[in-house]
């Protein structure tokens, strides 16, 4: 299942400067694909991407994720002096556990921050950040169903 990709919105957040390995992840996100790594040798899943499997040390391989997961834990940030975040308070930051078992950090958007819960079902979408790259975000699964 492809992620929705939000295009043409001004990217005000930190600029990412990916090397060759990481570029593949952000380019895939711009195509609507959410990637993570699974070790062909031992089957260990991991994220963020690395040049080796943290379990066995072998070369890693990219795998497409479903883009679905649940909130494993989260916080609602109510104080942050840094732009652009100070203008977006309050906002939710979560660790999302993907259906595939690995965890990714991201903002949960598209719902009141007070409604975010541990165990909440979320899906990924991506926002373009320039240079043919995009960054994943999360929203409640109901968000898609309502549309």
């Amino acid at each position: 299942m492809a992620m929705e990709v939000v295009r043409g919105r001004e990217w005000k957040r930190v600029q990412i400067a990916p090397g060759a390995l990481d570029r593949a992840f952000f380019e895939a996100a711009a195509r609507g694909e959410l990637l993570y790594q699974r070790c062909p040798a031992c089957g260990h899943g991991q994220f963020y991407p690395r040049l080796l499997c943290t379990a066995c040390g072998a070369d890693t391989a990219w795998v497409k994720a479903s883009g679905r997961g649940v909130v494993h834990t989260f916080t609602i940030v109510r104080q942050n002096g840094q732009a652009p975040f100070k203008d977006e308070l309050p906002y939710a930051v979560a660790m999302v556990e993907l259906d595939e078992g690995v965890r990714m950090m991201g903002n949960v958007t598209g719902c009141p921050v007070e409604s975010v819960r541990v165990g909440m079902a979320v899906e990924a979408y991506a926002v373009e950040c320039g240079d043919g790259l995009a960054v994943p975000f999360w929203r409640p699964v109901e968000h898609a169903a309502r549309k």
Binding site: R13, M105, V135
Partner: protein, 385 residues
């Protein structure tokens, strides 16, 4: 005690919590002079040096050694965040036992409040471009406090831990701050005050968070044999251990358990000390949740029962095992990396120098530092002779 058993023989703290007259180097120098005077040691006796800091130089230990004029035979700039100094005790103790050096200085200095203002936990890092692992977290605006809030949230979810229970930790530590003339905040607080303070990152309130101050410290270690000629009673390093489960909060394997679950029992085993033998705890209290997780990981209660344990009052003044008797990072002093102050306060207690905050007949102290986001934990068991 064997001749080369490692001991702490001198401790010094620099001016805190506000010291606009000192820069970070000034904090180092003032604290080092006070530690040398405390031990009645000459600077030229130092042949081992360890330090860590938030300065620009990754070569902080060797550049400080040059500034201070220390011709070391052993040097170590291990940087694990706030727990660096517990790791330093472990390393220095091994170096002393092995005979790599005789007299070790560990120092720290920070002008955080005067120089950078009060945004350590809520200001982010102000980076405009990121690479590597930071690309998978920096776009989401998680401040330092937010990482700890995620730990608190998960702990509440799994075990029913409450904000009231976390607040008990802040209340107890504040009582000790009232006894410390150098503490940042000294007015007593109640649980209701913590809950009424503004939410910074749910579920952590302002009073669940450490203060931001200036401050530095130094301590001196040597052999038990050499300590006999010095002024103050030596404090023994009975056992030390460190461990790491992650660095970035996104990589924490279990959001309710730290590397303390590994290294604190190891430190106890090396010291041949049981948790029940510990008279006072000097625990890294960057946030109330930090203490709660470390208490469980240390084995004072089962995983998930930290909230109930705290409510029983063991950590309070007059309790079985008083916590952070200098007022802690929550109320007294946190200049960015608090680990050195944990050692300093443990030594003060074991020497019986803590005045109104003295734990009666304190014989064994446990100092546990946490660096990063409950990432790198260092545990040190100290005892008086």
């Amino acid at each position: 005690m064997k001749a080369r058993d490692p001991v702490i023989v001198g401790v010094g703290l620099s001016d805190a919590p506000r010291a606009p007259h000192l820069d970070s180097t000034g904090h180092h120098v003032q604290a080092i002079r006070r530690a040398l005077a405390d031990a009645a040691l000459e600077k030229r006796a130092i042949d081992g040096y360890l330090c860590a800091g938030m300065g620009a130089s990754p070569a902080e230990a060797v550049s400080m050694a040059e500034y201070l004029g220390i011709d070391h035979r052993y040097v170590d700039g291990t940087m694990t965040g706030g727990s660096s100094f517990e790791f330093h005790v472990q390393h220095a103790a091994a170096a002393i036992r092995e005979g790599l050096c005789e007299t070790v200085l560990v120092s720290y200095g920070s002008d955080f409040l005067s120089r950078r203002g009060r945004t350590l936990g809520t200001g982010g890092f102000g980076l405009s471009r990121v690479s590597g692992a930071d690309m998978y977290s920096a776009p989401y605006g998680l401040p330092i406090v937010g990482g700890y809030a995620m730990v608190a949230r998960r702990h509440m979810h799994e075990f029913g831990t409450t904000s009231e229970q976390l607040a008990e930790i802040a209340v107890g530590v504040r009582e000790f701050a009232g006894l410390n003339p150098n503490a940042m905040y000294r007015e007593p607080i109640a649980v209701a005050d913590v809950l009424a303070s503004r939410m910074i990152a749910d579920p952590l309130h302002l009073l669940d968070c450490c203060v931001v101050t200036d401050g530095g410290g130094a301590f001196l270690m040597t052999t038990a044999e050499r300590a006999r000629d010095l002024r103050k009673p030596a404090v023994r390093v009975l056992g030390a251990a460190g461990a790491q489960t992650h660095w970035n909060i996104s990589q924490m394997p279990d959001y309710t358990t730290s590397a303390g679950a590994t290294c604190i029992p190891e430190a106890f085993a090396r010291a041949a000390v049981h948790p029940n033998d510990v008279d006072t705890l000097q625990f890294y209290d960057s946030f109330t949740i930090t203490v709660l997780v470390l208490l469980e990981d240390a084995g004072f209660c089962k995983k998930g029962e930290g909230g109930a344990y705290v409510e029983q009052g063991h950590l309070r003044r007059g309790g079985r095992r008083p916590l952070n008797t200098d007022g802690g990072g929550l109320s007294a002093c946190h200049s960015g990396m608090r680990g050195l102050f944990l050692i300093a306060e443990a030594v003060r207690q074991l020497r019986g120098e803590a005045g109104a905050a003295q734990v009666p007949d304190a014989r064994i102290a446990l100092a546990v530092g946490s660096g990063g986001w409950l990432s790198c934990i260092g545990a040190v068991v100290l005892g008086r002779e």
